[in-house]
């Protein structure tokens, strides 16, 4: 169990940072706000995993907990989803939602860094404090931000990926993008699935969900951006008179 709450989140973090590197490298080459936002989102994902691993190895730290809650619990899904909004939605929706997300994120920074914490409350949670959770936050109006951001993130990131996959499937084109988007949607749901498991008392379910999520999204992104080599029909020699 210790491995799951210590090393495993660091592995998730490493995968997320490597994924972010590739996304931002693609952004540097091709531009596109969606790539920039996905890259930022995966950096947030990596920060969240790093904080979880830090807590597993070294125990409670006030700053690490705040960073985890801000980036890992509140912002990550919404910023990844915002990337999908820039990719799929028409003007002016991406710009309007970006302003709202930026303002909401600033509000989140203020709330998280001004919140009162009590680490002893972590052990009162269903998973006995082996994982980080919002239970340590005493101040009102902080934990209630999490579902709002995560609902937006899930609808946009997962909804966008499923919708894209379905469009490509319906037209029977770009199979690699269909598969890639399905994997991205599955990966984006994995942490939410793990979080639900954690909420119902399954130890380390969140961390396992996050690792699976990072891996699936990485593979999905690679698949979606790498065309499959189509099987070439056998060459038929030309017949001439």
């Amino acid at each position: 169990m210790e491995f799951v709450t210590t090393t495993l989140p660091f592995i998730s973090s490493l995968i997320s940072f490597i994924f972010a590197f590739f996304v931002l490298k693609r952004y540097a080459r091709r531009k596109g706000a969606h790539l920039l936002l996905w890259g930022i989102g995966m950096i947030f994902y990596g920060i969240g995993g790093f904080c979880e691993g830090y807590y597993g190895f070294f125990g409670w730290n006030d700053l690490v907990f705040r960073l985890w809650y801000l980036f890992g619990a509140i912002l990550v899904a919404a910023w990844l989803g915002q990337g999908t909004v820039f990719l799929l939605a028409k003007k002016p929706w991406p710009q309007i939602t970006m302003v709202l997300l930026a303002l909401g994120s600033l509000w989140g920074v203020y709330k998280v860094f001004s919140a009162q914490l009590d680490p002893s409350l972590l052990t009162a949670s269903v998973h006995t404090g082996s994982e980080l959770s919002g239970h340590a936050i005493i101040t009102d109006g902080v934990r209630s931000l999490t579902p709002l951001f995560n609902i937006y993130g899930t609808v946009t990131l997962v909804g966008g990926a499923i919708w894209s996959a379905w469009i490509f499937y319906r037209k029977r084109v770009l199979l690699h993008r269909t598969i890639g988007n399905i994997l991205i949607a599955a990966g984006a749901l994995a942490p939410a699935f793990g979080g639900a498991g954690s909420r119902f008392g399954i130890p380390a379910a969140l961390y396992i969900g996050e690792l699976i999520g990072a891996i699936l999204m990485f593979i999905g992104f690679w698949r979606a951006t790498t065309p499959m080599t189509a099987a070439q029909p056998e060459a038929v020699p030309a017949v001439s008179d």
Binding site: A73, T154, L175, T178, L189, G195, P233, V236, A238
Partner: protein, 52 residues
């Protein structure tokens, strides 16, 4: 001069029968999971379930 054109494969874009079955199933499953997660998150937002 005549030239015999190569036969058109059944799945010119790679959508083999296995993909034809798996993709809709995966999409439906993902939608079901996503809706469940949203209901759960909605329950948290409304205070029906403890926050994260």
């Amino acid at each position: 001069m005549t030239e015999k054109r190569p036969e058109k494969p059944n799945n010119p874009r790679g959508y083999t029968p296995i993909y034809e079955k798996l993709i809709p199933a995966a999409v439906i499953l993902l939608i079901l999971i996503a809706v469940s997660m949203l209901v759960l998150a909605g329950g948290i937002a409304l205070g029906l379930i403890g926050g994260g």
